[in-house]
């Protein structure tokens, strides 16, 4: 619970510039008007967060809890598969956000060019974003089955067949990451389309006057001027990758064995096993790690954007 609620906070940034105005507005209304939102925030975010910090220091069975100091954290770090989990989480986040940037930009360029059926293709690309992640996971588990799955049948036409994509340790995480990209690239594309459309046409005309080719237009105008879009895509998909769980859980459950475990699935398994204190300690760790990565990243990218 803690991990989800932290993320929107860095994005409060854009509202900062009109702070003077806001202060005036605050004075115009009685503070009591803040109360409903304040109560909701305190009850469902602040109190659980503080309690989570406490319970991470206890052995907690739901029936009672015993204070054990930092023992849970020691146990959490002693978890045999934690290093696999950390590595997989990073690989997954980097791979998915990298592919979303590249593919999103290419699709964005394609879908802003003069094209028949452009509107239709835009919806096609965006469609997977609308489908529930769990449904996507279940569907692709079936599609990726060896011999009977559609993907395997299609690959059989080019001579690759019978590979157990999700059941094989070497391809499981990769397969899930590719499905994640399929599902998420639509959002990246939309962001790029908006970014590319906001580039003033004067620049393209200038390239044309200088006799530049399509490549020059892309390399020297589109690419540098869609940088803000790139930052948004990186931040969004990197955070999404770090806390990725639903797709991995529905497709492989961290398996085979532990080979596609990520931090979130390790924590979830501890919770399932009834180790509430231990899994809370894991969540506190995830909270700190994600904050430590995302706050500087968003500060850095935000600064570049203004400059």
């Amino acid at each position: 619970m803690t991990k989800q609620d932290t993320r929107p906070r860095p994005k409060a940034g854009p509202a900062e510039p009109d702070r003077p105005q806001r202060r005036k507005a605050a004075a115009a209304y009685p503070y009591a008007f803040y109360l409903p939102a304040g109560i909701v925030y305190v009850v469902i975010f602040l109190i659980p967060t503080v309690m989570a910090f406490y319970f991470s220091l206890t052995r907690w069975t739901l029936f009672d809890s015993t204070f054990v100091g930092l023992e849970n954290f020691a146990d959490f770090f002693a978890e045999q598969n934690l290093s696999i989990g950390f590595r997989n989480t990073l690989v997954y986040a980097v791979l998915t956000s990298g592919l979303k940037v590249v593919l999103g930009m290419l699709l964005g360029v394609l879908l802003t060019s003069r094209l028949r059926l452009r509107g239709f293709l835009r919806s096609v690309v965006f469609f997977p974003v609308l489908v529930s992640t769990v449904a996507v996971g279940i569907t692709f588990s079936v599609l990726l089955k060896p011999d009977t799955g559609l993907v395997d049948r299609a690959l059989a036409l080019v001579g690759v067949s019978g590979h157990d994509w999700l059941g094989d340790a070497t391809t499981a995480l990769l397969s899930v990451a590719l499905v994640d990209v399929w599902k998420g690239v639509g959002l990246a594309t939309v962001i790029y389309i908006a970014g590319i459309l906001s580039i003033p046409p004067d620049y393209y005309q200038a390239v044309e006057v200088d006799g530049g080719t399509a490549w020059h237009r892309f390399r020297h105008v589109t690419l540098p001027l869609s940088r803000p879009a790139t930052y948004s895509v990186i931040i969004l998909s990197f955070i999404g990758g770090l806390r990725s769980f639903d797709l991995i859980w529905t497709m492989t459950r961290g398996g085979p064995g532990f080979t596609s475990d990520v931090i979130a699935s390790i924590i979830y398994k501890q919770y399932q096993a009834g180790f509430y204190g231990l899994s809370t300690a894991g969540n506190v760790m995830l909270f700190l790690v994600v904050s430590a990565i995302v706050i500087p990243l968003s500060w850095f990218l935000g600064r570049r954007e203004i400059a």
């Binding site: 015993t66 588990s141 059941g167 499981a172 180790f275």
Partner: protein, 433 residues
Amino acid sequence: MKTFHGRLGAALAALALATTAACGGDPAPAAGEPVTLTFLVDNSETTLATAKAVVDAFQPANPDIKIEIETRPQGTEGDNVVKTRLSTGDMTDMFWYNSGSLLQALNPAQSMADLTGDPALANVQDSYLSVVTQGGKAYGVPISTAGGGGILYNRKVYADLGLQPPKTWAEFTANNEKVKAAGLTPVISTFKDTWTSQLFVLGDFYNVHTALPNFAADYTANKAKYAATPAAMTGFQRLADVHQKGFLNKGFGSATLDEGLRMLVEGKGAHYPMLSFLLPPLLKDYPQVATDIGFFGIPGDDPARNGATIWEPAAVYVARSTEHLAAVKKFLAFVASPAGTDAQTKAVAPAGPYRVKGSKLPEDAIQVAKDLQAYIDRDATAPALEFLSPVKGPALEQITVAVGSGLTPAAEGAAQYDQDVAKQAKQLGLAGW
């Protein structure tokens, strides 16, 4: 140091105790005063059918007790529902839950009504009581049947290939070679449903138990380890063996339980290491399950000491927060009576024997139940380790997938499991860890 939760729990328990005491002190509610009981069961088809059958059979003789069945998810998600409801005092009057190690995690002394010596337990077989007992107090009555955990095999395939159920691992391997030569899958594995990968380890416990009768006790006391006990490590070794010899089905890594059962019933595979409980629900679509599928225990090395590992039936427990203890006990007594088990048999074909005195398997019982009964009659069974010890690591299923897929060597898997177990024992706060 206890938190306010502890105190809250104690307060709730005290309150519940006060109410139960008040109820117990009263004479039985005046006749004709209707009582409605709630009964929480998991949402699997078999469980629900069994629960409904018992309730329906109970109702005619007890018109003033009405029982409403509630359902919960299966598996660990369901475990958490049960724990949460018990700890908040929001549990149904009675509930269906596993016996053995999972019961220990529910803190029965605090959350459940003590049934020790109660007439409701009169018909329960004495040897069953230990799996619903904690700290010398019994908390439940058995519902449904015991089952076998070992190898389910297709008898038609065996007849076609002229094979005999193996008594040793060597014979089992020889059978597998013949099945493989015939172009069928020798050992079905379904690692997408990870829990199904554990049977070679858990089902081998009869062999561990005959070799080392004290293993369960030593293991609970942190004196015996899987990795350091060759007899116990054999289970991991078996799992590695069948993979290494190429006995598994293609795509075992992403196959599911349903697919595995279908392969077995349709004769595409000869053996499936599995629990016999899984078969009765298949009868509707595949009536041949009743005769075609047989059961044998996971073979050890000594043909003279061949036997099988048994999974005890789940139990019905009483929440301490119930206000209708007398009525609940009446229902429990019915569940654990020959009339109660007869009602269950009518709804769901038994996958093994009942643990109720005077209950017998019907003549037309399915083959696996008969095979299991034969082991019991020979006194060649042991309960699975999880019924003898509260210690069971939660990551076993992932470890067995890794060992069974050839990702982790057997010895390393056993050592990983020992670490996993230590973590669980610490979290349970067991003595000696």
